[in-house]
């Protein structure tokens, strides 16, 4: 018992140290960016040299899938394609070279107006690249901030399924910590949630070279992805070595009181109801346009919701906040429970200035009798304590995934069928939100 108490004491000290470190490392105004590419600076604006090629990915159920994807020239092709990040007003140039796909390939930029395609070869919807020596160039002015998508305009029914889809982010003049120029769209962190699905049969037929055997009217998805990964791979960091063509993780982390911008994209061909546990989100934009009743009216038509109907090809911006407000108990524990702390609300907003605790609930005990460990079944994300930033006692071998005593909430497709990897649960279109103690550094 003494050893346990010592460990607990060390953990508490560590937490305090981390809190101090965190306050040093996270001054106001620092925000987490989505991983993406900003291109090389050309004479007129950013230039992105993209290739399209094929590669394999391994899904958590053990399948190996042939994918087609975009990549930055000289780097790996990937699923989804690289997230292109530009600034409002930029003249953007994107070149595309087909590196070995057995048919032409192209890019469409829905939501960008007057995209000019030059070079390459004539296609049905836009100009295309037919091979390594046939480069097509697209230029447009990113005239309006927002979240957008891009995908192939060549046989899109097949090529989007194969993975030729990505995200485009246009940062507003108001600054990179704003989604749009309206002050109400400022955020502390942002995350990309690009939703797709795969019908393995199509990928098998493409790999076997049976392109003329594919029947588009019979597609039947069996794998569901966020940012090109199936759960639980979604929880891993960006750029982990064992998923070389799936660089983008989807784990969402935040501190209480922060504004998290969700940039959600319907990348596939199906509808996905994306559900946030923990709290409602506020939908502020659709298809790169603020939800507004008119110019100068701000985001007055923003709506609060907990399930976003993500439609294929459409994009959404939503602000998610979590504070513990009105839970009715103190998220940091009580003095009587051995967790003394203060709640100081200087500005009258109801929250502590540092921990963002909801002061009206300060010192209110959690309204349940916490069961003994013997009565519990454990999951890897349980810290052993219901209180934020606290690591409680766990039986040997239990827990272990929750390093900082955070609160875990699942964000997932509410079509439960999509929480599987080829019929194996859990997996598919799911990730986690971790609300971390304010002292925990979040990159």
């Amino acid at each position: 018992m003494n050893i346990k108490r010592d460990i607990e004491r060390i953990r508490r000290r560590l937490a305090v140290t981390l809190m101090l470190l965190g306050m040093i490392a996270s001054p106001a105004g620092v925000w987490a960016r989505i991983q993406g590419v900003t291109g090389v600076q050309g004479p007129k604006g950013p230039v992105f040299h993209l290739t399209a090629g094929s590669f394999h990915i391994t899904t958590p159920d053990g399948h190996s899938l042939l994918m087609w994807g975009y990549g930055i020239a000289g780097s790996k092709t990937q699923y989804p394609g690289p997230t292109l990040i530009v600034n409002e007003g930029d003249q953007v140039t994107v070149t595309l070279t087909n590196q070995g796909l057995p048919m032409p390939v192209s890019i469409l930029f829905p939501g960008q107006h007057r995209v000019v395609a030059t070079g390459g070869s004539t296609g049905q919807i836009t100009r295309e690249s037919t091979g390594p020596n046939d480069t097509v160039t697209y230029t447009f002015v990113a005239s309006h901030p927002g979240t957008y998508t891009y995908y192939s305009g060549t046989r899109p029914g097949l090529q989007v399924e194969m993975g030729l889809v990505g995200a485009l982010i246009v940062r507003p003049k108001a600054g990179a910590d704003h989604a749009y120029n309206d002050p109400a769209t400022r955020f502390d962190r942002e995350y990309l949630l690009l939703l797709t699905e795969v019908d393995q049969a199509v990928h098998t037929q493409v790999e076997l070279g049976h392109l003329d055997q594919i029947n588009n009217t019979l597609t039947h998805s069996t794998l569901w992805f966020i940012n090109g990964r199936n759960g639980p791979d979604t929880l891993y960091d960006d750029n982990v070595g064992w998923m070389p063509h799936q660089p983008y993780g989807a784990l969402v982390r935040m501190h209480p009181g922060e504004k998290v911008l969700m940039r959600v994209i319907g990348g596939g061909r199906e509808l996905h109801p994306f559900h946030t546990h923990g709290n409602n989100f506020t939908l502020i934009a659709r298809d790169g346009r603020e939800l507004s009743s008119g110019p100068g009216q701000g985001i007055d038509l923003a709506v609060s919701d907990y399930t976003l109907q993500v439609q294929p090809g459409a994009t959404y911006d939503a602000i998610f906040e979590w504070t513990g407000e009105k839970l009715g108990w103190d998220i940091y524990g009580t003095t009587a429970g051995g967790r003394p702390h203060t709640c100081v609300d200087n500005d009258g907003d109801g929250f502590d200035e540092t921990t963002h605790e909801y002061c009206p609930d300060h010192e209110k005990p959690i309204p349940v009798i916490l069961p003994e460990n013997q009565q519990l079944t454990f999951g890897p994300f349980y810290s052993g304590s219901p209180f934020l930033g606290v690591l409680g006692n766990l039986p040997p071998g239990e827990g272990g995934m929750n390093l900082y005593g955070g609160m875990y909430f699942m964000w997932h497709s509410h079509s439960e069928r999509e929480l599987t990897n080829d019929n194996i649960y859990p997996g598919g279109m799911l990730t986690m939100l971790i609300v971390e103690h304010p002292s925990v550094p979040i990159p």
Partner: protein
């Protein structure tokens, strides 16, 4: 149609719009060459249904336009199908009598939302609480089967002239009508084998194999009519059993209404969710001419894969997607430039470089008056034309009134001066 003109001519006195339709059989030849039986509607050519309709049956059925202000709609239906049928319009109130039957287990079940018209008979369906909007009419009998056979069509009423809803004016409008076909189901229903094993006994196995826009599975659907700087109203309708997602490239749209109900505020989007059975009204105001590609982002862009000989035929025919299934089902919205900004697109403007919204062309030579001072039609504007203009001076003669201000005056002499020694035009309508 006669009744429509009647009510247009005397809309204060007559407020009912009457349309005469026949429900009947037809067939569609798909891109892969196969023929699929369809049921649809035809518009009568003489408002006398006793002698048939005279016009071919189409899918979707004819576009019915109720004049603004009319308060009553009468649809007269002749049933040339082998089974009873009826017509309903979702969203418009009506007093209809459902038809029931008793099934093998003794249960009373509804077969039809509205009173049926028997095969060979003529029935009338009346709506007396009309509301402006983009609506659909479709069969109200054995809906799961008859609607997907093709018994649907647009019925449209504006709130005013070129005004879809109060405050929503448009310059031109077009219908984008999505539907699908499961050929196996069509064959079973058309042949009467549906409902009796081994034929299908329900639509649970429905599998759309062809995707139609405005009733066709064309590789590219051309949708002309839009002009740069003007507002086109696209009336989107989905009468398939699946959802579709029209998505336009190079532009945003303003979604103004759903199921015939205007939104409090337009929604600016480039993608439009079109659920099965739904209508949406969308404003498209392109800033520049060109082709704007729109396609179903649910990627129902190719028909079923042709099998056997059909595959060979499809490839030989050079169809858009020869490596796979025929069809690409892309809609190209052709937007005409408007160089002179008069609201008439360059490809049909009789003066492409001179603004003339009226398009007046008094001598009928294909050059509008605004760019045609060649009054004696000798090919050039010259000294011979001036006396002709002076003869008409200060008269109200539109033939010499180049700028359409009501009088032949000094301004028109100025026109003649600017055009002096030049040929008339340029014009896009010069025959």
């Amino acid at each position: 149609m006669g009744a429509v003109l009647l009510s247009l001519g005397a809309c204060q006195a007559v407020t009912a719009a009457d349309f005469y339709l026949c429900a009947g059989k037809t067939s569609l030849v798909m891109l892969d060459g196969s023929s699929v039986p369809m049921w649809g509607y035809a518009l009568d050519d003489d408002n006398d249904l006793t002698n048939g309709c005279g016009n071919p049956v189409t899918v979707p059925g004819p576009e019915l336009r109720i004049p603004p202000g009319d308060t009553v709609l009468n649809l007269h239906l002749r049933n040339d199908l082998p089974v009873p049928t009826s017509i309903v319009i979702p969203g418009l109130p009506a007093s209809f009598t459902p038809v029931t039957f008793t099934d093998a287990k003794g249960r009373v079940r509804v077969r039809s939302f509205a009173q049926e018209t028997a095969p060979g008979a003529i029935g009338t369906y009346t709506w007396n609480q009309l509301r402006p909007g983009t609506h659909v009419y479709h069969s109200g009998t054995h809906v799961a089967v008859q609607v997907q056979m093709g018994l649907y069509g647009p019925v449209i009423q504006d709130s005013g002239w070129q005004e879809a809803y109060p405050g929503h004016r448009y310059n031109n409008d077009m219908v984008l009508f999505y539907s699908e076909v499961d050929p196996a189901l069509h064959k079973a229903v058309d042949s009467g084998s549906y409902g009796t094993p081994p034929g299908p006994t329900s639509t649970i196995g429905y599998q759309a194999q062809y995707f139609l826009i405005n009733g066709r599975d064309l590789a590219v659907h051309d949708l002309p009519g839009a002009v740069a700087g003007q507002t086109s109203l696209i009336r989107m309708i989905n009468m398939g059993l699946e959802n579709h997602m029209p998505l336009i490239h190079d532009a945003h749209l303003r979604v103004i209404a759903e199921d015939g109900h205007p939104y409090p505020y337009p929604r600016e989007q480039y993608s439009v969710m079109l659920a099965a059975g739904q209508t949406r009204d969308v404003e498209f105001k392109p800033t520049a001419g060109g082709n704007y590609a729109m396609f179903d982002r649910m990627l129902n862009l190719t028909n079923r894969r042709p099998i056997g000989l059909l595959a060979v035929n499809a490839a030989a025919a050079g169809l858009g997607d020869t490596q796979s299934s025929p069809g690409s089902l892309i809609t190209l919205l052709h937007v005409d430039d408007d160089s002179d900004g008069d609201g008439v697109g360059d490809h049909r403007d009789n003066c492409t470089q001179a603004a003339n919204p009226s398009q007046r062309d008094s001598d009928g030579d294909g050059y509008g008056n605004a760019c045609d001072a060649d009054l004696n039609n000798d090919g050039f504007t010259n000294g011979l034309d001036l006396p002709l203009l002076i003869q008409a001076f200060m008269r109200r003669d539109p033939a010499f009134d180049f700028n359409d201000d009501g009088y032949v005056n000094g301004i028109d002499i100025g026109y003649l001066g600017r055009l002096f020694f030049k040929s008339p035009g340029p014009s896009a309508t010069r025959p």
